[in-house]
Symmetry: C2
């Protein structure tokens, strides 16, 4: 183990922390167990005292271990209190074109209400974002851009940003050039152009189930039918069902969130991604990949994308900084493979170009390493939050509650006991100024009525713990 860790010395501490964390989460180390002394860590892994301390600080900040004065470090995290994982989902295999919109409006219409904690959102709270540095970036951008970005940008988008995105993608072994990338006004906008490029009104698109309601609504706005695919809480889309849909020729394209799906938080293993791409090629069905959460991983390295395995250009890889840096900047992108011309046309025809100045700020962030610095902090915070949420759900929610265990991203899927009506719970929670996203909005079918999605991209504190406790109590009252 120590040998493997030595190979990449830059984040030694994170790797050591990762090993111990896994041992805690797997129950190899149990609550109250004493951890090896710092000196032992130094000797075992062949690292400096500083590195060993950084590893322990990392674990401490996640609430996994605690230091006891004069005594050392002990496991704090209660393994036994993690909720069980949800079972695989079982949506109907018929395409649907219902309308979840009224319900969505009801939920998201209340967000403006002061005091209601935004557990229903799928973006990180402002407090987790580098506002001051972004503002500085804006000033720099007015200087670095020709004419301060006042003129129309190129249709394909900022050259500087596209170069940085290609460089960034290289880190997950995605071999892209600047010209493979087109920038957009956020990720949903990229998905919109992709769907318009590959599908026509009346066509069927395969998606995960449950799935981001934004993607459902987009498909419906374009007159597309949606075939919902079963999902596994940890490994994402069921590949058998996916192949079945492709083999039967029923779908014009598929649209997946392979990394940290929304709302489940699942992550397809690399071999699954490879297989999904192989099947896309075998049946010649474009795969639109929504990878907007891939950078927010809790492990030691970024999960790969389907695009990594794409040799035929059938994968349209979409991303953005809306979930990591600045939702309000509306900066996203797509590497549309063989559909470049079509996607470029859609962007040109519907919007001419995207705003220059925000693209420039993001390019600067990527170029100077400020983005990676920020992400490192964000990942640690979110991972700690995820662990805290899991514990709180185990502690406060009704017996029999299941919850996904995301290894990245911002959202957590919770399955209450089957007879609990999450919509009724929603109404009651709202009167306590607590909001969440009811499971029913993540499907066009009549299911997930006992489920809900929580956003843990918030500042963890006693108030938030109290909110989760109250929510749990309300849920218990429904049982």
């Amino acid at each position: 183990m120590s040998n493997d860790i030595q190979k990449n010395p830059s984040f030694l501490y994170a790797r050591i922390a990762g090993v111990i964390q896994q041992q805690i989460l797997d129950g190899i180390l149990r609550t109250g167990d004493k951890l090896p002394s710092l000196r032992t860590i130094c000797r075992e892994y062949g690292v400096s005292q500083n590195t060993a301390m950084s590893a322990y600080y990392d674990l401490e900040s996640k609430g996994l271990i605690e230091s006891r004065p004069q005594s050392g470090y002990y496991v704090r995290y209660p393994r036994s209190r993690r909720p069980s994982l949800p079972n695989a989902t079982t949506p109907s295999s018929m395409p649907h074109d219902g309308d979840p919109d009224a319900l969505v409006s009801q939920v998201y219409g209340t967000l403006g209400e002061p005091g209601s904690l935004p557990l229903s959102l799928g973006t990180p709270a402002n407090e987790l974002l580098p506002i001051a540095k972004l503002n500085k970036g804006l000033m720099l951008a007015t200087r670095s851009l020709t004419g301060s970005g006042i003129a129309y940008d190129k249709v394909e988008g900022s050259e500087r940003l596209r170069r940085q995105i290609a460089r960034w993608a290289f880190a997950m072994e995605c071999n892209l050039g600047m010209d493979d990338v087109i920038t957009t006004s956020g990720c949903l906008n990229a998905l919109s152009y992709c769907l318009m490029a590959v599908a026509d009104k009346g066509d069927t698109i395969a998606m995960e189930s449950p799935v981001s309601f934004g993607m459902l609504r987009l498909a419906q706005a374009l007159g597309l039918r949606v075939l919902e695919l079963p999902m596994h809480a940890q490994t994402g889309v069921d590949l058998n069902a996916y192949e079945h849909a492709l083999r039967e020729g029923r779908v014009k394209a598929s649209l997946l969130i392979p990394n940290f799906s929304n709302p489940l938080g699942s992550c397809m293993p690399d071999e699954h991604k490879r297989e999904a791409v192989r099947l896309a090629e075998l049946y010649n069905v474009p795969l639109i990949e929504n990878d907007l959460n891939g950078d927010v991983y809790f492990g030691t390295q970024r999960p790969k994308s389907c695009k990594t395995y794409d040799r035929s250009g059938l994968v349209l890889w979409c991303g953005s900084v809306s979930k990591t840096l600045a939702p309000g900047y509306r900066v996203g992108w797509v590497a549309p493979g063989r559909f470049r011309e079509q996607v470029l046309r859609m962007k040109l025809y519907h919007s001419i170009s995207t705003a220059s100045i925000t693209q420039e700020v993001v390019a600067g962030f990527l170029e100077t390493g400020r983005y990676e610095n920020h992400l490192r902090k964000l990942r640690r915070t979110l991972h700690a939050n995820q662990l805290n949420f899991a514990r709180a759900i185990a502690d406060y929610f009704p017996e029999g509650t299941r919850a996904s265990c995301p290894q990245g991203g911002f959202v957590q899927w919770v399955e209450l006991p089957r007879h609990v009506d999450a919509l009724e719970l929603y109404g009651k929670a709202l009167s306590h100024k607590i909001s969440f996203a009811p499971g029913r909005i993540f499907t066009l079918q009549n299911q997930y009525g006992h489920c809900l999605r929580l956003n843990y991209g918030l500042l963890w504190n006693d108030e938030l713990e109290g909110t989760l406790r109250r929510l749990g109590e309300l849920a218990k009252a429904e049982v």
Copy 2:
């Protein structure tokens, strides 16, 4: 006359200048005629010496008059050398769905070439835009916006901007409230949502002919057919043809540029607008109004919009600052009348929201009067340019050349003698590093082959005059 001018004392000088200008352009005052002395102006109009001088400065800056030392002011502008207006256009009355795209790409693919003067563009040159003030606005916006605009904006857009747009619209007697307005990523984006909201694939949309190729391409991307309507060079769309199309039930909606159309530069008289709205109501056909040039008028007040006369909510009024302030900011808007819900959904489904920071800058510009100040300068510059272009066309272009005489906007339509092939001319001009927009790209039909569009939103100087002269010589060689 002087009485009428007295009514609004704020821009007395502009009104006096307007009267004299009209006399010059109408040939009542001819080249070389001596103008009344400043003292006479003061007495006749009952104004101060300063006001009289401002009026003459204004006329001088437009190249209409010149001062001769020790003698006074004389008419300089050669009335006789204005080109004749083009005849009304006669497009086929069958809907089309051809594809002008290859040609458009050819023209706009060359814009990056250094040295080629952007006569082909339809936006003002950077030199005419208030870059420094916009940058200052950016700094202010990071302070005035909650969280510096990092979070998602509301779907309907910045409240501050929507309030300012409503206030702005009030100036043309458009009675809008903040809630009637939805912001978008530029005007084309607004048109895109409007078309998606009111029409379905396969429907027919009535448009002007010739018409902005961006609007043609957008319609085609949405699978819409286009019925092209005849146009008059000064008064815009032919109302008989418009009514005919509506009465026959052939069109699902119409999409017009009533103020300073593109590429003709025509402006519908107010009574025509009123009539167009009446017909829209009579036949219950939504009217999408592209009013992105309305603020760039050369007269003494902003032309009204169709929205001014809209009582039934059938007019979807679209605008932006892309042609006046900052194309690269991508800030536009729509007041969609009774289609508010549908347009709002389209915006939400395809893009969630628009960037906050650039909206805030524009809101600040409108709020503080910086926008009006800037527009005042811009209008004067563009009017002077338009007069110079008209003179240059009369001086240098082949006998029989006709040209529109826009009273606002940035673009000028030129009809060469009928047997000249503007595409051939385009190729030759390009080898001289001169670019323009061939007429053929402004239609889906096979027409306007001898026409071209010129952008006069540039800095007027000897080089530009030289370019127009060379272009005229090249055109003469084609005759």
